[in-house]
Amino acid sequence: MASIKVHGSPISTATARVLVCLYEKDLDYEFVLVDMKNNEHKKHPFLSINPFGQVPGFQDGDLTIFESRAITQYLAKTYANKGNQLIPNDPKKAAIVSTWIEVEGHHYDPPGVALSFEHLVKPLFGLGETDPAAVAENEAKLGKVLDIYENQLSKNKFLAGDEFSLADLHHLPNVSYLLATPSKKLFESRPRVNAWVTEIIARPSWAKVVALRNQS
């Protein structure tokens, strides 16, 4: 019996972030589909799990939380000895991972999400045409962030050290979407970023999330 429940939608990047973490940690879970087309995420009972009305929501026994990056950190710490280690034991190395988790959340994610919104979400949900000015602005922002990644990846194999960590994992959902858009040139034009993207996207855990996404 799985005591872990994930409430969300596999096409949501924040939900996918939690799912890929569960596969890395080799944990069983029950998936509870939130029907976003029918606005279930803005109604009870989902609002009692996440009052902001966003997916995912998460339960493990008595614990109920939201915010994908808080959920993955909980999983990585609580199930430290299961599956792949995503936060190093050494406190100093763990602090570096924590720093690059913040970098993803505050520097990478805003332009990354804006670009997937312009290229993919707008056409898919009939929200209007892709706005070239918004694309240019966010490509410039993301490009600056990736310049810093390019330099960081000349020092380590992964963002926060020589091992794959939660900091890399958090990028997967958005990177995977952007690879299907013209903005993928931002990765391809930077050799180390390109090698990093190729490596992380090939993880078996991510293939499982993509399979779920394709079924839905």
Binding site: I65, A70, A95, V103, G105, H107
Partner: protein
């Protein structure tokens, strides 16, 4: 005697003051190193070695060099679990998980809207930059929605992550302070009963009063 940790950046910066509030709560000694942002020191080659995004704060402790205010705060709390305010980052994994959840809510929902308001309403006038009325209005609306959720949450528990003051509440102090005291937006807080009670409690903490004093000294 442990050598004091080093914090680079001016206390007037919201991200720097988040780290200072945490150090004071944890009773950890620190040394504040000036970064002259008016002269662009935060974009100098030397500074970029410790903060590649060219922002403040940067942080050093013994052989470790970190940046990103919320990551620095977590590191300080983990390293000094037994010092100062022991429960600041929870006492077990469950406690940490709900604190992390509300630190994320702060970083992902409260901060984007409030930092734009703080910049537009508190810093732009000082820097003699024009204000963007549209951005102000949009972000007031966004922040109001976030605070509506807080209002409900703070009707159920005294602080965001439970009955104790935590890093999650602390993370709101820097932007909250400018909104209430400089940007003339106290009403966002006072018009919500529970948020108002919470704000008075957290902003009245000794640690935060000391940060405000450091800010006042720095600006005079």
């Amino acid at each position: 005697m442990a050598t004091p940790v080093k914090v680079y950046g001016p206390p007037l910066s919201t991200a720097v003051s988040r780290v200072l509030a945490c150090l004071l709560e944890k009773d950890v000694q620190f040394q504040l190193l000036p970064v002259n942002m008016a002269k662009g020191e935060h974009k100098s080659q030397e500074y970029l070695k410790i903060q590649p995004f060219g922002q403040v704060p940067a942080f050093q402790d013994e052989s470790i060099s970190l940046f990103e205010s919320r990551a620095i705060c977590r590191y300080i709390c983990d390293k000094h679990a037994e010092k100062g305010n022991k429960g600041l980052y929870g006492l077990d994994q469950l406690g940490k998980a709900s604190i992390d959840q509300w630190i994320e809510a702060e970083g992902q929902s409260f901060n984007p809207a409030s930092s734009i308001l703080v910049f537009q309403l508190a810093f732009a006038p000082r820097m003699r930059l024009p204000q963007d009325e549209k951005a102000i209005k949009q972000n007031e609306e966004k922040l109001s929605k976030v605070l509506d959720v807080y209002e409900q949450r703070l009707g159920e528990s005294r602080y965001l992550a439970g009955d104790e003051f935590s890093l999650a509440d602390l993370s709101h102090l820097p932007n909250g302070h400018y909104l209430v005291n400089v940007a003339d937006r106290a009403e966002l807080f006072t018009s919500r009963k529970n948020v108002d009670r919470w704000w008075n409690e957290i902003s009245g903490r000794e640690s935060w009063k000391e940060v405000v004093e450091l800010q006042t000294k720095a600006s005079s």
